[in-house]
């Protein structure tokens, strides 16, 4: 082994060890030095978000009767469609209540429910209502729950910006593309005037509520789909794929669309079976459910968690109090404002059923039943 001339190896070793130690110390001492301020409840908290491209939004967190320090953990899992909203709310909530730890997973609506019904999670994000078998499983395990609708999603069908040949697609065409054992391989298999290029399909995996909803709505039977598409529970992967491939076609929740608007194009959808016209996805068309692929999004809350965790109750109150703001921020469509107010009042008075009917109320003067 040759001796190294030049910089002494002790020096090198010492510097390196110092670097590593410094790195670690900096991290450990960081909180007190770099100002993660002690927990205070202030009158106004400003939360700036960049998701969706819009500017800053001020979320007011009024200090409730809780001068008690909230502490504990909340385990949330489920839909990747609902995830952006829940994540945003959780982040804001944790900034105010520093001792509350909220973990949000994206196993998909179905995957999330599988954990929810055995009591592993407190809240399930869901982009479709709970199924009968899931409800039965929950009952079998002694898990009681209640459903909280929180937003409307205009599920988008997207193609690459360079796909200039298509602007509007019919439900029947979507069905032909996506049904199980589909023979469609090229764009021209759908409409002869389209290019004779293979359609590269992107879509959510079978654990996703988006998948359940899409297959039910378009193909006619839940979970009935061809299997040779690029699947991911993470909608970001789907966006990335369609963004980069000229002949790609994908579907996912609206929230993931605006950020990539310059690279992907949301198609207008025509419900040709009902004789409808080509409708563009958006706030107005989603709110009235004129857009054929508009669907409600839910939170499912475990009753046991609700009863035993005060911080979870505060979280849900916070969610409903600031619902419209967060939903708009993430670019989904909120229910009418009066829904959130009424829902909050209902829950606070101990009634946990009938929230979905509240979303259907036409005006704010109609009372809850």
């Amino acid at each position: 082994m040759e001796k190294s001339k030049g910089v002494s190896s002790t020096f090198v070793g010492g510097v390196v060890v110092a670097l590593v130690v410094g790195l670690v110390l900096g991290l450990v001492a960081g909180p007190s030095l770099f100002g993660v301020p002690p927990q205070t409840i202030t009158l106004i908290q400003t939360v700036t978000r960049e998701v969706g491209g819009a500017g800053a939004v001020t979320i007011t967190a009024t200090p409730g009767p809780t001068t008690v320090q909230l502490a504990g953990s909340i385990e949330i899992d489920g839909s990747s469609t609902v995830y952006p909203i829940t994540e945003a709310v959780a982040e804001a909530f944790m900034k105010i209540h520093r001792n509350v730890d909220i973990k949000v997973g994206i196993s998909g609506t179905g995957g999330g429910f599988k954990r929810f019904v055995i009591g592993e999670t407190d809240i399930n994000d869901a982009s479709r209502p709970i199924t009968k078998s899931e409800a039965e499983a929950a009952a079998k395990n002694g898990i009681e729950w209640f459903e909280v609708p929180i937003a409307i999603d205009a599920l988008v069908v997207v193609v690459n910006k360079a796909a200039t040949w298509v602007d509007c697609i019919a439900i029947s065409e979507l069905k032909r593309i996506w049904e199980p054992e589909s023979k469609v391989r090229l764009w021209s298999d759908v409409r002869p005037e389209w290019p004779a290029q293979p359609i590269r399909l992107y879509g959510p995996g079978p654990d996703s509520g988006t998948f359940d909803y899409f297959t039910e709505r378009v193909v006619g039977k839940a979970k009935a789909s061809r299997t040779d598409y690029i699947a991911s529970e993470d909608d970001n992967v789907l966006v990335a794929g369609v963004e980069r491939e000229t002949y790609a076609l994908g579907y996912f929740g609206y929230a993931y669309y605006p950020e990539a608007k310059d690279k992907i194009k949301a198609l207008k959808v025509q419900d040709d079976e009902a004789g409808g016209a080509c409708i563009e996805p958006g706030d107005e068309t989603a709110k009235t459910f004129v857009y054929p692929l508009a669907r409600p999004l839910f939170l499912y809350v475990s009753k046991k968690a609700w009863d035993t965790k005060p911080h979870l109750r505060e979280f849900i109150y916070f969610y409903l109090e600031n619902g419209p703001a967060f939903v708009k921020k993430v670019q989904y469509t909120p229910f009418p404002d009066h829904y959130y107010v009424k829902a909050l009042a209902l829950i606070k008075s101990g009634i946990y059923t009938g929230l979905y009917e509240l979303t259907r109320l036409k005006n704010e003067n109609a009372g809850p039943r």
Binding site: R115, G205, I230
Partner: protein, 308 residues
């Protein structure tokens, strides 16, 4: 006084104690060493146990010979071939990259490089080996695919077996290079000198004397690199696309065995469902295949290594 230390009672008492301590430590070290054996047993055991739930519902024949894998969808089909083919393709492409480059590097370092050049080149190759596979995945998705493959190859998408294979190939170059170089290094200098003295050119010495002598080691390195490629997860998960597709066309996006395991394990977690248990069946298959190859490699080294 004829004092033999071995008759001194104090010494004898201490000796006894030291012997006991030594024996105890011996047992301790023996136990520690058995962990390696126990680990293998435990690995095989858990895989077999967990996949027995799967194989209770799916026949082994259907598993091995079926060509459709729709475990996550309905109706469920349990033929593992699409995953197997994807793993095979990506690993073979990886080998096609790593074999020539790795061998070339090894030959260069061992026979041609000057002493001064050897150190830095070796270090660079070592760096290749130390880079985490996530970084390679990033490299595949954001560099190799968009800049190299998509502009040059018609009909290739962002995700493809080719992107995965090429990147894994870069990853395993150091394995081929360093193991082959070791093999060539251990060929005695006498062999080379004898060949030169017979008038051989350097070309002949390298390719007709050294290489054949080091062949067993080189062959073993190739097999080990191959199994490493088969077991690679992150690159396949990032750049391969989660799409079960039975095809030998490397331009297609296809999901390897490892990527499938990654997908399911991060998706839902409930123990006992057939979807969940399928990852253990696939894992068992992967384990058996890689272990078979590894044992062959070890055997080759042992049996065919010419001792000098």
């Amino acid at each position: 006084m004829s004092s033999n230390i071995f008759f001194d009672p104090v010494f004898l008492k201490n000796l006894r104690r030291r012997q006991i301590k030594t024996t105890l430590v011996n047992i301790l070290l023996l136990a520690a060493s058995s962990i390696s054996f126990i680990s293998i047993v435990v690995i095989v055991g858990s895989l077999v146990l967990e996949s027995s739930i799967f194989f209770g519902q799916v026949s082994i024949t259907e598993f091995i010979t079926g060509t459709e894998w729709t475990v996550l969808f309905t109706p469920k089909k349990f033929g593992v071939q699409p995953l197997l083919v994807a793993t095979a393709i990506t690993s073979l492409i990886a080998l096609a990259v790593a074999m020539p480059v790795g061998l070339a590097v090894a030959i260069y370092l061992s026979e041609y490089a000057s002493n001064r050049a050897r150190k830095p080149i070796k270090s660079v190759i070592e760096v290749l080996a130390g880079i985490p596979t996530v970084v390679y995945g990033y490299f595949a998705l954001y560099f190799i695919s968009p800049n190299l493959l998509m502009p040059l190859i018609e009909g290739i998408g962002v995700h493809s077996a080719l992107a995965v294979g090429l990147t894994i190939g870069v990853l395993i170059i150091p394995i081929v290079a360093s193991l082959s170089e070791d093999a060539m290094y251990s060929v005695p200098e006498d062999f080379r000198q004898a060949a030169y003295s017979l008038g051989a050119r350097k070309l002949d010495v390298v390719f007709r004397v050294v290489l054949p002598a080091a062949l067993s080691g080189i062959f073993a390195s190739i097999i080990l690199a191959f199994t490493r490629a088969m077991g690679e997860t992150m690159i396949a998960a990032i750049a391969g696309g989660f799409r079960v597709y039975y095809s030998w066309d490397p331009r297609e996006a296809m999901q390897t065995m490892t990527a499938f395991i990654a997908q399911v394990a991060t998706g839902d977690a409930p123990h006992g469902t057939i979807e969940y248990q399928s990852i253990f069946a696939v894992g068992l298959l992967l384990f058996l295949v890689t272990m078979a190859f590894n044992i062959v490699a070890l055997y080759i080294v042992k049996r065919w290594q010419v001792r000098y």
